[in-house]
């Protein structure tokens, strides 16, 4: 704010004005229904998730194996070439210990969202998912993890068909 202007035009609003009904308000319930096509790449990816598999797309030009899959290589600006099965194991690249839900509800037990680099895809190819069966204090960058799938009957072709990723080979 400029020191040259002392009196700014307008009236400052506070919750007091809103509570007293001194502000014009409009109530509207939007009918926000929509249909959305997941597209070829993500559509097939979700279909394969239902079957309990992770798949990636490969580009014959830059030789990358990309997950999440895409029909266009964003490095080479050309169509990708084929489907490649990848493993349901990976490495934690980064993570958070999250005490707030997507709708801003506070959580007592934190969620552990993480970017997981998938084995079988090119280096640095990660997906965002959740970690489970692990103490938040034990999670670290570079931790090896494996997907925990839902039962086949419960799967619905969504990324949540993987419940979470748990640490790999803790028995060692």
């Amino acid at each position: 704010m400029s020191v040259n202007i002392k009196d700014w035009p307008g009236t400052a609003l506070s919750s007091r004005h809103l509570d007293a009904g001194r502000v014009l308000t409009v109530r509207h319930k939007p009918r926000a229904e929509y249909a959305w096509d997941a597209g070829m790449a993500i559509g097939h990816y979700l279909h394969e998730l239902k079957a309990g598999r992770l798949v990636a797309r490969s580009c014959g030009s830059c030789r990358r194996v990309m997950i999440p899959p895409r029909m266009l290589c964003e490095e080479c600006f050309r169509p990708t070439d084929g489907w490649v099965p990848v493993k349901d194991t990976g490495t934690v690249n980064t993570f958070s210990v999250c005490y707030v839900r997507w709708d801003v509800m506070r959580l007592k037990d934190p969620l552990l969202p993480a970017v997981i680099h998938i084995d079988g895809a090119s280096p640095g190819m990660g997906i965002l998912h959740l970690l489970g069966e692990v103490d938040p204090g034990e999670v670290h960058i570079g931790m090896r993890v494996r997907a925990v799938w839902k039962d086949p009957a419960e799967r619905e072709g969504a990324i949540t068909d993987i419940r979470y990723w748990k640490p790999l080979g803790r028995a060692k």
């Binding site: 704010m1 400029s2 020191v3 005490y99 970017v115 640095g124």
Partner: protein
Amino acid sequence: MTVHGITKAEIALVAVKNKRNAMDHPCAQLGTEVTVEDVLNSEVLAWPVNRSPASDGAAALVMCAEHVAKRVSDKPVWVEGVGWHLDTAYWTNGDLCYPRYVEYAARITYEMAGIKEPRREIHIVEPYDPFDYKELHHLEGLLLCKRGEAARLTADGVTQRDGDLPVCPSGGLLGVGNPIAAAGLMKVCELFWQLRGEAGRRQVPGDPRRGLAQAWGDLMQVGTVIILGR
């Protein structure tokens, strides 16, 4: 934190600085005197980030042609350079440690503004700071310090309002508030007041001639940079 070996306490100094700076801002939502301990002991929402302000606000600029600017004002502030850069929207496939898109946006801006040595030629920086680590992250992307060194500059007081490279003298988003979509322009407005010497108690000493503002957003892959001068 992992790559450069920086601690949460070092990063928290950014929040301490910006919230203190914001005490001099009449619009500030969260201007207050806090210590590193206060920041570290505050409620954790998504570790390692503790809290970010939820705000609403608006900012506006009047842009006009050069001949009009000279007619309506004795002290116009000029846009010397702008730059944008978009990284891929597949953010989980990218480098999450270094904001290369900010660097590319900054390089476009520096070239347009004819800046060869940003560290010497930029007198005020308003990088996007919705979380304390982002200020450090963006200073590195803007080529204003070496990678991993931004935390040390903060600890040494270089980024204080009266330091060698004042960063977020307004109080930034951590102190003034984080009105998404208005936040970037809020920083440009601060440069305008600073360059005209109208920032009052927030005024950066030394008669600054050139400032840089930067915004970040969308799927964490967009960098926008602007340089104002007089």
